[in-house]
């Protein structure tokens, strides 16, 4: 403790409690490592694969025929913006795991893979029990490619880099492994309330 900038005032919005170091935005900023992948639903597929490479794959119509869910959640980006009350529709990870009939006894973590090559790792426990979904609709309209459409992983209780845009596979793992940002200086877990931004 110690540094004080005596003439700094800031904007002082009164309002909801945000995770440490975050500020409220009503915008929806876009961040990505490269150009936006263009994925058409005709050729889209989503797979859930077990540690030994077995799995289940869904085409877009099959995916949309699964039980659907709507949720309203707050999201927190590691670049410090938070957006409250965001409305999403999609398929919960519980539904997908159930439909695939996967044996989860040796599974501890999951690596999400995306069109374009992005990856991110999440503990299995943080994806089940209603904590996460594969989302295809934001604010009542189909998810825009810039924001990860046609479908992205949504894990709102962790920093938003974990909510992999353009997701196409969840690969079940028997141990944790760093995904893209985790291997590039960011925290393996990423809890905004403990401000776990960097490694």
């Amino acid at each position: 403790m110690g540094v004080i900038n005596s003439r700094f005032r800031g904007k002082r919005r009164d309002g909801p409690t945000l995770p440490p170091g975050q500020y409220l935005t009503t915008d929806f900023p876009v961040l990505a490592t490269g150009a936006t992948p263009r994925v058409v639903t005709d050729r889209w597929s989503f797979s859930l694969t077990t540690p030994d490479g077995q799995g289940h794959r869904w085409t877009w119509p099959e995916f949309m025929a699964l039980p659907q869910q709507k949720i309203v959640v707050d999201i927190h980006c590691v670049t410090r913006w938070s957006k409250l009350g965001t409305a999403w529709a999609g398929v919960s990870i519980d539904t997908l795991l159930d439909a695939a009939g996967a044996d989860l006894s040796s599974v501890s973590h999951v690596m999400a893979h995306a069109y374009g090559g992005y990856t991110t790792n999440v503990p299995l426990a943080d994806l089940v029990d209603g904590k996460a979904m594969i989302a295809h609709t934001f604010d009542g309209t189909p998810l825009h490619p810039e924001h990860g459409g046609p479908a992205r992983l949504l894990v709102p209780h962790l920093y938003f880099w974990k909510s992999a845009k353009w997701v196409n596979e969840l690969h079940l793992l028997t141990q944790d492994e760093p995904g893209f940002w985790e291997a590039n200086g960011y925290h393996m877990y990423g809890d905004p309330w403990q401000e776990q931004r960097y490694a």
Partner: protein, 242 residues
């Protein structure tokens, strides 16, 4: 928890009427790669604090770095950094941050030509690369495309003049709102054809670094991909406006 380090402002200069470069001396700073950024945190006397990320515009001196900050109209931190922060004052910083949008003179692939593309304040991290090249890899093939609102909005003007005088860096300038009086091109946003004619051709296998506002990099990134540049040869840093 973020580890905050104490930085002292050792110098500052206005790059444009709304942008300021600030030099920070950070004892114990491990040094940064060109393209990385730091978080700068300000704390008011009552304990209220706010922090934002700023690209480093100079990484050549290990524990003294520079950032170039554009004042945003509704900004929380940038107005203070541009208008109030004094030489000798301290701020807290975290970093360096970022492992993807970096150029290193010694990493594999350094024989590939480098195409830098800047929109407005997006020139900051690219300037860290240009400056580092001068000291660490002067023979590296670099090209810059810089789109700015007007000549008065261009950062590092003296330095670009010196680089031009010594033929150190080919630069394609594009002005979107007002152009110099002797300019052959009227002001306006860069077009698809102008863009592709200015960047290093795909056959030369360049590595491309794009930095600027989201709409700018989204559009240019798409043009590059549609023109056949491999997606993994394109690195993008998108600037937020808050």
């Amino acid at each position: 928890m973020t580890t905050w380090q104490v930085a002292t402002v050792t110098g500052a200069t206005m790059e444009t009427p709304t942008a300021r470069s600030i030099w920070l001396s950070i004892p114990g700073f491990p040094g940064a790669q060109a393209g990385q950024h730091i978080d700068i945190r300000l704390t008011a006397p009552d304990g209220y604090s706010a922090s934002r990320s700023y690209s480093l515009s100079d990484v050549r001196e290990g524990d003294t770095v520079a950032v170039s900050v554009e004042e945003l109209d509704d900004g929380e931190v940038s107005p203070f950094l541009v208008r109030e922060l004094e030489i000798g004052e301290q701020v807290e910083i975290a970093g360096p941050i970022g492992g993807h949008f970096v150029w290193s003179p010694t990493s594999p692939g350094t024989t590939r030509p480098i195409q830098l593309v800047a929109g407005g304040s997006g020139i900051a991290p690219l300037m860290a690369m240009v400056r580092l090249r001068e000291t660490a890899a002067p023979d590296a093939a670099f090209r810059l495309l810089y789109s700015a609102r007007s000549p008065e909005h261009v950062y590092y003007r003296d330095e670009f003049a010196a680089l031009a005088a010594h033929r150190r860096l080919p630069v394609d300038w594009f002005y979107t709102r007002s152009a110099p009086p002797d300019s052959a091109r009227p002001p306006g946003r860069i077009t698809h054809d102008e863009f592709l004619a200015s960047v290093i051709p795909v056959d030369s296998r360049p590595l491309i670094y794009l930095c600027g506002a989201n709409e700018f990099v989204e559009m240019l990134g798409k043009w590059l991909v549609d023109a056949g540049y491999p997606t993994d040869s394109i690195r993008i840093e998108r600037y937020l406006a808050a």
